[in-house]
Amino acid sequence: MVLVAVRLTYNSMVVGSVDAERADQVFHALADATRRDIVAVVLAGEQSVSELARRYPMSFAAVQKHVVVLERAGLVTKRREGREQRVGGNIDTLREAHHLLNQLEAIWRQRLDRIGAILADPPEA
């Protein structure tokens, strides 16, 4: 099955270090436009939560919540500096997510390739 094959491939061959549950968290985290934007912003340079909160038409608490979701998914890291919380991007997790996405389509393309090869074989083979 596609999903299982993705998970198998993902778990055993491609990523190794990240389990399927973590992958679900990553995709959930990236489902939201604000969260995707936060990730892009902090990858370009660390930001405090207050700095992030000023960028979006929402409360500090709401932005804080988004950061928590991203942190849980391993997409950003948080560290305390004085009274501030600094948020930075974690590019490794993103690269893993990227891999998983490409795998999904690749699995069916590879299956179709193999079917093509079988059909090109003489029937006796």
Partner: protein
């Protein structure tokens, strides 16, 4: 074989892939209908599949075993929903435990296969794979949309590209 279209619809959590084969419908059907042919393509070369049961009738089941490079075994099953040979096959696809019992804690995928005769004797095969009702899987398809990702994700791509895959 040429992949002609790839569609990902986040609303219905469906991935649709169409491919063109230079073989008649009856011949393409055999790669599903014959377990020995099925096991030659279902698993990747590093996880070759062995098809155990193979009953392509409504309610019937197909069970398979995939063996990894380290001898690790992964079992899976299909539950056949509908068959109209040699044009249509619909089945639910799931994971099984080491004893071959369906693992209900992992989501299943529904797969619809249709074969269409083409002028000149070829076949267009369409695979429609519907992901389980999990938000995570929905996002997985959404993120892969060919129409392009959001600017933010585009930036992420750019950041990732120089570092290779």
């Amino acid at each position: 074989m040429t992949v002609t279209t790839v569609k990902k619809d986040p609303e219905t959590r469906t991935l649709t892939i169409s491919a063109q084969f230079d073989a008649p419908v009856a011949r393409v059907w055999q790669v599903w209908d014959d377990p020995r042919q099925l096991e030659r393509w279902w698993g990747p070369p590093t996880y070759p599949a062995t098809v155990l049961d193979h009953d392509l009738t409504p309610g019937g089941s197909v069970t398979y075993l995939m063996t990894g490079p380290g001898g690790d075994k992964h079992r899976g099953w299909w539950r056949v929903i509908a068959v109209d040979a040699p044009h249509r096959l619909e089945f639910e696809d799931g994971f099984a435990d080491d004893a071959g019992n369906p693992n209900n804690t992992l989501p299943t995928t529904t797969c619809r296969v249709t074969l269409h005769e083409q002028a000149g004797g070829g076949t267009r095969m369409e695979i429609e794979s519907t992901f389980p009702d999990l938000q995570a899987m929905q996002q997985l398809t959404e993120m892969g949309m060919e129409e392009g990702m959001t600017a933010a994700v585009g930036q992420i791509d750019q950041l990732l590209t120089p570092q290779g895959h």
